[in-house]
Symmetry: C2
Subunit: 100 residues, 2 copies
């Protein structure tokens, strides 16, 4: 299984547009093969700083997602709105512990 | 390295109190040994649904955090405010891929 952690900071003028874009991406991505979790959220300490939390069945599933034209368009859209710090990191995971 | 994904849903009457509590926990936890990331965020699609994103150097560091009295008090506090779905899952991680 793959866990992925993404972050981006929206310029104030575009924060609402990016909130809406992230919601649209989440709804579409959850329909894709191998997508086990796709949450978009906003940092409680830093408004305008967004977090994308993903879980995929395999890296191949995530790569198939990233290869879709809509994903490239979304990345171009956030860059076009002045986002300069978009980062997405994925990890293969091992032993799971249910803490609480 | 450990990745952890936590979620909880706040009753509407307590949502602001839980936002503030999560901010306080984040600020305190970042000072602890082995804490590499501690973000608290709110779901853009489900207001009142919160996400806790953690990275720890080791499971032992995370367990030392969880053993602190302040953590038990915070868990009791959210239960006292009517949260019934608090969940925290941790994973040992393997190969990392910088996707974007």
């Amino acid at each position: 299984m793959i866990l992925s952690h993404g972050t981006l900071t929206a310029p104030v003028a575009h924060a609402d547009a990016i909130r809406q874009l992230l919601r649209q991406i989440a709804q579409a991505t959850r329909q894709e093969a191998g997508c086990q979790l796709y949450l978009v959220s906003e940092d409680l300490e830093l408004p305008g700083h967004f977090i994308i939390t993903e879980q995929w069945a395999s890296l191949a599933d995530m790569e198939a997602h990233l290869a879709q034209p809509a994903v490239g368009e979304a990345v171009a859209a956030v860059h076009g709105m002045g986002v300069t710090d978009l980062s997405i990191i994925a990890w293969e995971v091992g032993t799971q512990t249910d803490v609480i």
